[in-house]
């Protein structure tokens, strides 16, 4: 079978407007390359002016991420329809890359083929390419249909001041044009020979459509198709870095340079600087204060809206939409560092933090990391938001509610303003004393229970501490706690942007730990767990209580009995346990180890979990919103058919207990901490003695400000 790829008129040798084809093609390429280099240099100038960010480590892992998330499009199918369409267009682009190169070659050399593609392989590729073009065209049509007719809510951000949707349509149009131009180019040549074949469906379709045309028309059409294809290709390349479709160029590098440090570890104020007080300026107030990688993130944002779609702050109607952080910053980057013309004077531009991005947007973030987890091109948000808050804190712009809590932490080591010397008093509860010792300097213990402020001081949350004490002592473990020498972990202080306070707190806690001989550290608070694990540089292992309890069950030290009542349980993944630390299975293993316990999963579970409203300092802060995150989440649990929500974070517990009350579900639904549930499943807690009432009788409520 002969493949009629040869048109009667060779573009390379056919003059156009009296200019030799190859010469004209050369000029087109030179203009394109010069323009593209010029545009990319302008775009790169901002990255070069940005803060440092070492991202050339762990090349192997980076290549793996590039293969999986980049080329493998790993995160796309979470949104099935849009994801599959994107996979089709992206995969198609890779296939068509060779075709584009071939056509660029044909501009210079008649019947050009890439090395190795002049024989059967070339013929096979032509078939694959033509089928791929069909897939791309259909995908583009469906994508345009979605954009114009279906209009999924996530495409239209309620905070967007201007829409970039038209750019999406332009790109879809340009891609379709490429496909059609190529098909006209090839189809007209086939029509000259009166040839069609199922192996080349798109070219054959055009061959059939054009079969009535005269040979002269076909020759001209073929030439027109060729030039249209190559001109569109060149224009497309130059349009990408000007539009939101810069991601076509930047997303693979962006994935390669993704954050490999533990998700829960906040970036230092400036890479390479040990202590925040050594910095002239702290935090981000201008574009140029961001690290180059964070600016590359902005270039790479595809405006797909997945981040805001999963963002609990966006869902509950706060001023925050993570996608708008990227989109607005990119718009500002394009305006402040323009392709054409001079850079505008700095004072003629709005303040990035304060005007482009409002203070309230930044305070609305609970750092739950749902946005980062879903982003198909690995854009980071938490580190950026923390960096911008660092500037706000340094500038004194902190909501009054949080100021109070912060200054109480500073004075007394906890946001409640309780006297530090009372920090160990939680051990003594109304229902009895927990089997946990206060460790004095020099004392030894196998386990050190780091309570953090909430479990140490909030009357309801102290019950979690005592429950863990009961569980560990039932397993025969030796547990101590730091008592008055412990101060707040500083986890939220750091994420609020108060780096200096965090450093002071870390030093005090590290000192208290160093003075005692303790084996492992356990905590019931995922925030403290995250801080101790990633923000502190400790040599001791740090465990969340779900991990400790799972270990004790597996080693046979804990024997659990069934629990009274025919109820359905669901586990809510706390953000700092799950998404920030990948602890998903341990708490579920613990639940499943309780005989007869019926457990269901919420749809938004594991890494898709939905934030309860935020912990620690966020309990003191209530910004503008339409709904409460905790109320939304309790609704999700009810939908899953659960009567009891089990969580493993004191703040989730507080927020959900409040939500159950405010939504009138009292008596119908309950929330309980994993440690409390396990304590009730201990043989010694079984009915026949009076402790069986327990569950849900806690009346003390949450925090009051």
């Amino acid at each position: 079978m002969s493949t009629p790829i040869q048109t009667a008129l060779e573009p390379a040798t056919t003059p156009l407007f009296g200019i030799p084809g190859a010469g004209l093609h050369g000029a087109l390429l030179v203009v394109t390359v010069v323009a593209l280099v010029w545009i990319l240099r302008k775009r790169a100038a901002l990255l070069l002016a940005a803060a440092p960010d070492p991202r050339m480590d762990r090349i192997g892992e980076r290549l793996y991420a590039l293969a999986k998330i980049g080329f493998g499009q790993w995160r796309q199918p979470r949104y099935l329809v849009a994801g599959l369409l994107h996979i089709c267009i992206f995969g198609g682009f890779l296939v068509l890359l060779l075709r584009s190169l071939t056509m660029l070659g044909e501009g210079f050399v008649p019947a050009f083929s890439l090395p190795g593609f002049d024989g059967a392989l070339g013929e096979f590729y032509l078939g694959v390419k033509d089928w791929t073009a069909v897939v791309i065209l259909i995908s583009c049509a469906l994508a345009a249909y979605r954009r114009l007719v279906v209009r999924p809510a996530r495409y239209h951000d309620r905070h967007a001041q201007r829409s970039h949707s038209a750019e999406g349509l332009i790109i879809l149009g340009l891609i379709s044009l490429l496909m059609v131009a190529d098909a006209v180019y090839e189809g007209s040549a086939m029509a000259l020979e009166g040839h069609t074949t199922w192996a080349l469906p798109l070219a054959s379709l055009f061959s059939g459509l054009l079969s009535e045309s005269s040979p002269a028309t076909l020759e001209r059409l073929g030439l027109g198709g060729f030039w249209a294809h190559n001109i569109v290709l060149c224009a497309f390349s130059c349009y990408l870095p000007i539009s939101k479709h810069f991601h076509v160029i930047t997303s693979l590098p962006n994935v390669f340079f993704m954050k490999l440090a533990p998700a829960g570890r906040v970036k230092p104020p400036r890479h390479g600087v040990e202590k925040s007080e050594d910095l002239e300026k702290i935090g981000v107030s201008r574009l140029e204060d961001f690290s180059w990688k964070h600016l590359l993130d902005f270039y790479t944002c595809t405006d797909c809206g997945r981040c805001s779609d999963v963002c609990p702050a966006y869902r509950t109607g706060t001023p925050l939409s993570p996608r708008m952080i990227s989109v607005k910053s990119r718009d500002e980057a394009y305006e402040a560092w323009p392709i054409f013309g001079k850079r505008p004077a700095a004072d003629s531009r709005p303040q990035l933090v304060g005007e482009v991005i409002s203070d309230d947007e930044l305070w609305a973030c609970t750092t739950c990391r749902a946005c980062e987890d879903v982003c198909p091109v690995t854009i980071e948000y938490v580190d950026k938001i923390v960096d911008m808050r660092r500037f706000l804190v340094d500038d004194g712009r902190v909501p009054a509610t949080m100021q109070k809590a912060l200054s109480k932490i500073e004075k007394r080591g906890n946001p409640y303003g309780k006297m530090g010397k009372k920090r160990g008093e939680w051990i003594q509860g109304d229902e009895g004393e927990a089997d946990v010792r206060i460790l004095e300097p020099g004392d030894q213990a196998a386990w050190c229970f780091f309570t953090d402020s909430a479990v140490a001081f909030d009357p309801r949350l102290q019950e979690i501490g005592r429950a863990l004490g009961q569980v560990l002592s039932s397993a025969g473990e030796d547990v101590g706690t730091l008592g008055k020498d412990e101060v707040d972990s500083g986890h939220e202080a750091r994420r609020i942007g108060e780096e200096g306070l965090f450093e002071v707190l870390r030093e005090q806690n590290c000192e208290a730990l160093a003075e005692r001989k303790v084996g492992r550290i356990v905590t019931t608070d995922p925030h403290a767990f995250n801080a101790l694990r990633h923000d502190y540089e400790l040599e001791r292992p740090v465990l969340h209580h779900s991990q400790a309890i799972q270990e004790l069950i597996q080693s046979g030290k804990l024997d659990l009995q069934g629990i009274e009542g025919d109820r359905t349980y669901t586990f809510h993944d706390p953000c700092y346990l799950g998404r920030h630390n990948d602890v998903y299975d341990e708490p579920r293993d613990v639940l499943d180890a309780i005989p007869g316990l019926r457990r269901v999963e919420m749809e938004a579970s594991r890494n898709k979990s939905f934030c309860c409203g935020g912990g620690s300092l966020y309990l003191f802060h209530e910004g503008e919103s339409e709904e409460r995150m905790g109320e939304v989440r309790i609704g999700m649990a009810e939908e899953a058919g659960a009567d009891v929500v089990v969580t493993a974070c004191p703040f989730c517990l507080v927020n959900f207990e409040d939500a159950i009350k405010t939504t009138g579900r009292e008596g119908k639904m309950e929330v309980i901490d994993l440690a409390e549930l396990v304590a009730r499943a201990l043989p010694e807690s079984q009915p026949t003695n009076e402790t069986s009432k327990g569950l849900g009788t806690a009346e003390s409520g949450g925090l009051q400000e």
Partner: protein, 262 residues
């Protein structure tokens, strides 16, 4: 415009275990935390905001022992340009009259367009110092300002009066204005902010430097003398209701009926 702002270091008594010292005149302070008097926080913020708007300089003053330096550091971190610490053993036990005299000597040395004070201090709650300072400086005064604006050599001051009314007055500068809490949103002072001003020089002035005789201030010069500091006796009449919510509500209604309110 040049502004003087007077600040005071006071104990933070929220959530604190308050114990009266054996002398019956002071608090057992081993567990107390100290902080900038809340009203003074608003005064410093007002001063710094005026400076940011109109230019000029803010100078913070305090009368107190060595530890009082920390509230001056805080004022510097908030944006004051200079701080002056009036520190002399002779100041111990001063009444507002003594404090006002010390401040007047220090402030009177220089030319200010405006002198701001917190309306009261949380530990003394007499609210005298600002007024006495104005009298000693022979300057007009407005008390309990809830809004403040400066236009040239005049200031427009709003303050609350009974019945929820607001009065707006105009006052010629220089003047003394005492600031009510809530006049603004004081900025946050970060640990880093405090560290940044840790090395700034603070001028210390003693009685001699101020031309004061130690008999004029402190215990010796006090015209108002503290007789006793006491916790009020625990009153009766409080009752904590027990039982289920329904039972508690029923009892509560009964109690209200008994008192004749329903």
């Amino acid at each position: 415009m040049d502004i003087a702002v007077c600040v005071k270091r006071v104990p933070d008594l929220t959530e604190a275990e308050i114990e009266i010292d054996s002398d019956g005149l002071s608090l057992e302070d081993s567990d107390l935390d100290y902080d900038l008097n809340e009203w003074d926080d608003f005064a410093v913020e007002a001063a710094v905001q005026l400076k940011e708007k109109h230019g000029g300089k803010v100078t913070a003053y305090t009368v107190g022992d060595d530890d009082a330096e920390e509230v001056l550091r805080r004022a510097l971190a908030m944006g004051a340009d200079e701080a002056i610490h009036l520190c002399d053993d002779a100041f111990a036990g001063s009444d507002p009259w003594g404090i006002a005299q010390a401040l007047q000597r220090a402030i009177g040395d220089r030319k200010f367009d405006l002198i701001l004070c917190g309306a009261i201090s949380s530990d003394g709650t007499s609210g005298h110092t600002g007024g006495m300072l104005a009298a000693l400086l022979d300057l007009p005064q407005v008390a309990l300002a809830t809004a403040l604006e400066v236009n040239g050599d005049k200031a427009e001051v709003c303050h609350e009066v009974e019945g929820g009314l607001e009065r707006v007055v105009e006052i010629a500068l220089p003047a003394v204005i005492t600031v009510q809490s809530g006049i603004n949103e004081p900025r946050y002072v970060s640990i880093r902010g405090i560290r940044k001003v840790a090395g700034m020089d603070i001028d210390v002035k003693e009685c001699d430097d101020l031309g004061l005789d130690s008999g004029q201030v402190g215990d010796a010069g006090a015209r108002v003398r503290l007789e006793e500091l006491a916790l009020p006796p625990t009153g009766g009449g409080a009752e904590i209701l027990e039982g289920s919510i329904d039972e508690m509500v029923t009892t509560l209604i009964e109690r209200i009926r008994e008192q004749g309110a329903l």
